[in-house]
């Protein structure tokens, strides 16, 4: 258990202190970091340049300066990112890359107040035809060219191919991690689980893979203990801050799977094979499924969540509804209806990174655990 606790603590420290992680990377490699805005970005291109792709997902803080630039109905990820930009938190980044699958991201991409140069690319909304892939390849060519100019480096196809291999290995290990975490909730609780996953945003991926592999090997040596609490699945954009996850721990609710944009949606699908690495990265968007921001006229998300509940024998689903996230709000009535038809219990809680008080969420989650 000592080694398990050591690795968990190591990953938690990285997840809680991204600036230090970036500084350590710079010291070790002589190269800096490129900020990656939510939600889905071909980080492999940045990785291939030798730079550290750093996830930017906002943070738990009060908003004040951001109000000058964003309306109150912008989600709290964007509000807190704006706030931190204005506090110069991101100015050490060599560049910031934006994908813009929602209106708020589109707006924010046009008004970056930090000093780093910004690169914006667009995912095709219609992603089912071959032309979508061709479109996205062109977007990635522009992104790559711009990155090469800013970083004063050349990014070869071979290096992108190698980065895709590293990233696919990390995706595979993370899927294994979520399976193992489901079997060992007494070791990997809700906060730990989130920290292990979040740390991948601030580490070179092969380093993260190595640590997680070692963690899994250590855990697998132990016998799983029967779980007497409830098992839940989380769905939404993100499940933070830790004070909210602590409530799950307090009421013995184990997270046995997730469908969170910040977590499993990042590694649900591998980048597929092909000769052209940019085409492979583009095709990932076409193969990706189950997210409110990736157009799906058949709305497979509900069926996917129902299958998850059955596979994991979960007791219920906790919808982590990011406040003011329109795409997530639009999906909710559709899959909620499907849950009702299948007799699946669910609750929706509001996620707001600005929140300082958690009693309302505690009441909801405790009540939910009592009715399961």
């Amino acid at each position: 258990m000592d080694r398990i606790n050591y690795i968990i603590n190591e990953l938690k420290c990285i997840a809680d202190n991204p600036k230090k992680a970036m500084d350590d990377y710079k010291k070790a490699t002589g190269k800096g970091a490129v900020g990656i805005m939510p939600l889905y970005c071909p980080e492999e291109i940045v990785h291939a340049a030798g730079y550290l792709p750093m996830g930017i997902w906002g943070g738990h803080r009060k908003i004040s300066k951001s109000r000058a630039y964003l309306p109150p109905f912008a989600c709290s990820i964007m509000q807190t990112v704006m706030e931190m930009q204005l506090d110069s938190v991101y100015d050490d980044l060599a560049a910031v890359i934006f994908s813009v699958p929602c209106d708020t991201l589109k707006c924010l991409s046009q008004k970056w107040k930090g000093t780093s140069p910004v690169i914006v690319f667009t995912h095709p909304q219609n992603r089912v035809i071959e032309a979508s892939n061709a479109f996205l390849v062109e977007e990635f060519k522009i992104l790559k060219a711009r990155l090469e100019e800013i970083l004063d480096t050349k990014i070869s196809d071979e290096s992108i191919t190698e980065s895709i291999r590293i990233y696919n290995e990390n995706r595979q290990v993370m899927r294994e991690f979520t399976q193992v975490a489901a079997k060992y909730p007494h070791i990997i609780n809700a906060v730990t689980r989130h920290s292990v996953i979040k740390a991948r945003f601030f580490m070179e991926k092969s380093s993260h893979t190595a640590l997680v592999k070692e963690l899994l090997a250590e855990i697998r040596q132990l016998d799983p203990k029967p779980w007497t609490g409830k098992k839940v699945i989380l769905t939404g954009i993100m499940a933070e801050p830790n004070e909210m996850l602590d409530i799950l721990n307090e009421f013995d609710m184990a997270v046995v799977a997730d469908d969170l944009a910040q977590e499993s949606r990042q590694f649900r699908v591998d980048v597929p094979d092909d000769d052209d690495p940019l085409y492979r990265l583009a095709k990932w968007w076409q193969d990706f499924y189950g997210c409110a921001l990736a157009t799906d006229v058949k709305k497979y998300r509900g069926e996917m969540l129902i299958n998850m509940v059955k596979e994991q024998q979960a007791d219920g689903v906790i919808v982590c509804m990011m406040k003011f996230c329109d795409p997530e709000e639009f999906d909710y009535p559709i899959y909620y209806d499907q849950f009702q038809q299948e007799g699946i219990r669910s609750i929706s809680i509001e996620i707001d990174q600005e929140s300082q008080a958690f009693e309302q969420i505690k009441t909801r989650l405790q009540s939910f655990s009592e009715l399961l």
Partner: protein
């Protein structure tokens, strides 16, 4: 066997002492809530009314907003579960509970056994809660107890916003300035609270019997407004402010029996 439940809300503290899980020996309410002397005073009143003392209590459950900070109870259970338990005991046909307290409103759906099937709560907003009525009563210079009788005199309910208590207060002040009768404004306030509550009920699905609980249930004008909007009978639970504490006392009894 004597058990006790305490419901520590934002605006009031309620205690119920129960004998053998079904006979109410005391049901006391003090109109101050968590973080105050309210819980202690409610306990003292309940012991005085029943002639009992702490040592007579076999098991004690706390619920309500202030339950986590209250360390003297044997267990803490959410107010959703406790209201369901308490109301099912009083009115077994209940399938929908509308609980409107000092700072929140809940719609709770029950099955035939009185178990909670689903619930919805208002989010971070005083509109449609007891706090809303407090603010309006102050502006109108009436007491909360007068709201029901004045509502009955209304001829044409005024339009009052249900989005925000502060904006609604401005509207009410504006209407008073225009000389609109207090009774009509009060009817509009009741309709505003009703629309917030009904918004939660529509999400839940309407199923008879519908029972109203919480401090706001003492204002029959609100239950009449809800009944009018839903087109359904709304029953007010007996002693509606204490149903949560009653449910907590029943949970305490069940736990004591299992021991």
């Amino acid at each position: 066997m004597i058990t006790m439940g305490i419901d520590i809300g934002s605006a009031s503290s309620k205690v119920v002492i129960l004998e053998n899980g079904n006979k109410i020996l005391a049901a006391e309410v003090v109109q101050i809530g968590t973080g105050s002397s309210g819980p202690r005073k409610a306990l003292e009143q309940a012991f005085h009314a029943s002639g009992l003392k702490q040592a007579d209590i076999e098991k004690f459950v706390a619920t309500g907003y202030g339950r986590s900070a209250y360390e003297d109870a044997d267990k803490q259970i959410s107010e959703i579960s406790c209201h369901a338990k308490g109301v099912h005991f009083l009115i077994p046909d209940t399938r929908t509970i509308i609980d409107i307290g000092g700072q929140d409103a809940k719609a709770i759906g029950l099955d035939e056994q009185g178990n909670v099937k689903q619930f919805f709560m208002n989010d971070k907003c005083a509109a449609g809660t007891g706090r809303f009525l407090d603010v309006m009563a102050r502006v109108l210079e009436v007491s909360l107890d007068e709201l029901d009788d004045l509502d009955k005199l209304a001829t044409e309910p005024a339009a009052v916003s249900s989005t925000c208590t502060v904006f609604a207060e401005s509207e009410v002040i504006s209407q008073l300035s225009k000389g609109i009768a207090k009774e009509n404004i009060i009817a509009g306030i009741h309709a505003s609270v009703s629309s917030k509550a009904c918004g939660l009920i529509y999400r839940l699905g309407i199923e008879d019997t519908i029972v109203m609980t919480g401090g706001v249930a003492k204002d029959a004008g609100v239950s009449r407004a809800i009944s009018k909007e839903l087109g359904k009978t709304v029953v007010t639970a007996p002693n509606p402010q204490t149903t949560g504490a009653l449910g907590a006392a029943i949970y305490a009894y069940e736990a004591a029996c299992r021991k």
